[in-house]
Symmetry: C2
Subunit: 210 residues, 2 copies
């Protein structure tokens, strides 16, 4: 059985000496890099394991395969925003407008903040598959939370069901569009861009803002 | 040399009997379908030729390979909008606001109107390559045209260079985000959605609208 000859993983160790990351995180980071630079279809599990400095067999100790790596990376682009959205929905102190603004701002920071543009993976044909139902469910719940915050604003309260669904799509669409903007200009400072996008989202929502 | 055994192309014929499309269009339609459903990396030129009902050798009569097919499909998602943008920029009768609205509306119709969601191909890692410089150039020119129309509106005229660039990114981002929205909900009627997106774009632009 061949090894890479260079860095070989230690099946029982949970910590990699060189990066300090747990092996699981190391594998996810390697997959994120390879999926976004070489492409998902062109990346083998062997390449992911090698990039993470371990044997392929060791990788299978942590992940069942390439699909599970992709599923976990996709979920990492939506799960933190859904958790924030739930906290904001439960917060009855702040106005709906300012909570919606904060969700937008934070979501843009998440989508643009990582080293790799994982949002770009949303459009892979493979992601339609049942295997990624978890990601689709979390993304749908996140969009529903945007809709609930929108409905709680005064312009949102005046909309009918279809009008609210359309406006939710447009706001959520603007937030996800930062994936494309970020790809064209990855060196843009994220914090100011996230605030400007949240401002624009509230203008779409019909809320007087700025 | 193997053939598919079923439908075999006629190298000298320019017209396919079954679809009535010229062979070149037939190949582009086949590539659009396969690239967006099976994925670009997983699609072979042989599969494209077979889907179009012709031999692989016949395909090479029209296209140098998979990359040229992808390049042409990508350009078809931006070139018509750039042509419209140039006509609108030269039209000094209509207001900048209404010309910007029309560009947005028409661009959304183009991005959502085809049978296949070609915009989804923007995010392929392969598309970064020099081979696709033509697409990137047309897309950049289209974005610049959005910026020029924005600068001609009264809120746009009040912005400094960086402010205008950011607002252009957000408007252009919203328009391209329909790629993601369309993917989630491909059966939505396009015309009303295109108008609603153009309305939202003008709200981002700071133009009182509706």
């Amino acid at each position: 059985m061949g090894t890479t000859g260079r860095r070989v993983g230690r099946p029982r160790a949970d910590q990699r000496a060189d990066s300090g990351l747990p092996a699981r995180e190391e594998l996810l980071a390697a997959a994120a890099e390879l999926f976004t630079t070489s492409g998902y279809a062109a990346t083998t599990t062997r390449a992911v394991a090698e990039r993470a400095g371990m044997r392929q067999a060791t990788m299978y100790h942590y992940f069942t395969g390439k699909e599970e790596l992709l599923a976990e990376l996709l979920e990492s682009t939506v799960a933190p925003s859904l958790a924030l959205a739930r906290r904001l929905l439960a917060d009855h102190e702040a106005s709906a407008e300012s909570r919606l603004w904060e969700l937008c701002r934070s979501d843009v920071e998440l989508l643009c903040g990582g080293r790799h543009n994982l949002g770009g993976l949303y459009l892979l044909p493979e992601v339609r598959a049942e295997r990624f139902a978890g990601f689709h469910r979390v993304r749908t719940e996140l969009k529903e939370a945007y809709g609930q915050l929108l409905a709680a604003t005064s312009p949102g309260a005046a909309l009918d069901k279809d009008g609210l669904a359309l406006r939710t799509d447009l706001v959520f669409g603007l937030i996800e569009s930062v994936i494309l903007i970020h790809r064209s200009d990855p060196d843009r400072p994220v914090a100011a861009f996230a605030e400007a996008t949240a401002d624009a989202a509230l203008r779409i929502a019909g809320v007087p803002w700025e």
